[in-house]
């Protein structure tokens, strides 16, 4: 399960997606490597969602090639992607608020003991494991039995990330994890993102915030109207350039000129 740092996990080559006559994505190439964070930036409607939906198995690409572990692949369902170790944490779908933290952590993958029809939940074991795994990620909870809805948005994202890591994800796709969060909570989420990378996972970080991306990213891709506008490594760019690219480059200059009094 442990992949050495730098191993290519997912490779996309000129991938495109048409929804009928509408071309949502064209000629996108990217590589997700173990122990690296690949940031995908773009404005609303740039094709970010389409890209992750292809990787997580919700949609299938219509052109180009996607390779997982070097093998040409097309996922039929999110379950297939999960089985290959590709986990997606959606901003709004992460948790069930009224349920306890440990129940959320194990939801859908509950640990049971006993046999036959009288199998029951190993509640104590799951409580212990959830607490240990969260502690490994640096998350200390006052009470593993508290409803997860009592945690802040950032903390909920962190639990969802820790959960994906524990259940054997090799690739972690984070869909705008900081979009709805304040500065401080965003910082917490970014720390766990970095920690997932340090644990050897290949991370795909979707965001429209170049500041957040630049804090953790190893590789940056900027999408614009379904096409790649920028593709470079961290050493090849600085924050100002990234912000400029993200904000629309020349368009921003024009806008600045127009607004100047």
């Amino acid at each position: 399960m442990v992949t050495s740092v730098g191993t290519t996990l997912i490779e996309m080559e000129n991938v495109g997606k048409d929804y009928g006559a509408i071309r949502a994505l064209s000629d996108v190439s990217l590589t997700v490597r173990a122990g690296e964070i690949t940031c995908v930036l773009g404005d609303n409607g740039a094709g970010k969602s389409t890209l992750i939906k292809i990787m997580s198995g919700l949609h299938q690409h219509t052109s180009g090639v996607m390779r997982v572990d070097g093998e040409e692949t097309e996922f039929g369902s999110p379950r297939e992607a999960l089985d290959r170790g590709i986990a997606t944490v959606y901003q709004d779908l992460a948790v069930v608020s009224l349920m306890e933290v440990w129940r959320n952590f194990f939801l859908g993958s509950e640990v049971r003991r006993g046999m036959g029809p009288v199998k029951m939940l190993d509640a104590d074991g799951m409580r212990r494991t959830a607490r240990e795994e969260l502690a490994k990620m640096g998350i200390e909870l006052a009470d593993i039995d508290q409803p997860i809805g009592e945690l802040s948005g950032g903390q909920r994202q962190c639990v969802a990330i820790a959960r994906a890591v524990y259940f054997g994800a090799r690739v972690l796709i984070l869909d705008e994890p900081t979009a709805a969060l304040g500065v401080k909570q965003s910082g917490v989420v970014l720390k766990y993102t970095a920690r997932a990378r340090d644990a050897g996972l290949g991370v795909v970080f979707i965001t429209h915030n170049p500041h957040h991306a630049f804090l953790v990213g190893d590789h940056f891709i900027v999408l614009k109207r379904g096409r790649m506008n920028l593709d470079c490594r961290r050493s090849e760019i600085n924050l100002d350039q990234l912000t400029q690219e993200m904000a629309g480059g020349d368009e921003l200059d024009t806008l600045a000129h127009e607004l100047r009094r």
């Binding site: 992460a94 069930v96 608020s97 939801l107 029951m120 409580r127 490994k136 640096g138 009470d143 508290q146």
Partner: protein, 355 residues
Amino acid sequence: MSDVVEARPGPGPAGTGPGGDDGPRRSMLRQLFLRPETGSLVGAVVIFVLFFVVAGPFRRVESFATITYEASVLGIMAVAVALLMIGGEFDLSAGVAVTTSAITAAELSYQLTLNVWVGVIAALAVSLAIGWFNGYLVVRTGLPSFLVTLGTFLMLQGVNLAVTRQITGTVSTQRISDMDGFGSLEAIFASEWDIGGVRFRTVILWWLLFVAVATWVLLRTRVGNWIFAVGGNEASARAVGVPVAKVKIGLYMAVGFAAWFVGMHLLFSLQTVQAGEGVGNEFQYIIAAVIGGCLLTGGYGSAIGAAIGAFIFGMTRQGIVYAGWNPDWYMTFLGAMLILATLTNLYVKKLAARR
């Protein structure tokens, strides 16, 4: 509150919480407040004390047996309905479904002169099928279960009356007490026993058993986890691989099973069924579940709470009679109690969240 989670610079060793290996826990008081049934327990005690003081006959042991019996017939349904509501759905057909089940068993056995066991098993199949139908429609169409089961409710209400009148010429089924198999079934569904001259009924034990099983399933099994998840956030549950459709259909079938059980109890204790019975009971089941702490929106509640809710019903209905008040006030009293219980639940939840 916002800083319960602390970011640590490095990966800390496991179990480093201030409470030692077991981790810190909340105070007992807070744990109690967090239970869904707490509000209803307080309400039950208040109502018990009220009638104990104002109604002399309420203090007798026989009265307690009567109240518990009344609570058990309602309570078996309330437990199943509570599970369904925790799973995020309603069943308005639950009241008349009880009657449908009893009519099926009675008429099938009587008209074809079969052993009553055959009719009872056929009734079970019919009840489970009604549950499946409700669940399947809700899951497949995505329509609100309020509408879907309102439709089933009206259909069953009509079928109960029309079929019974067609077959018997009246609105009640024939007496089946002299038929083969009646004795053994009566022993299962409607037997009675004496403790010191007080009559207790077996159905009370069945009720307690169902409450215990439902509680165990909810809190200690994977299915229970799924029930809470499906009611709490259906999309999240689906995203982590919970079989949402199966859970919901299963819950409707559990209500079907309970309707069958109560239908059989009524059939074997009364020996005949009135075809118009059951209308309005569906709301009593829902009210008992809500008094017991179930949220109307799903994802929260308890089977024990629903049992306490049913007991509050029994105490109120009998208590009003024992106190010599006009029984017309029963519904008014009930409505006030429902509002009170809802407010208490709201208050308790707010209190729990603030600390």
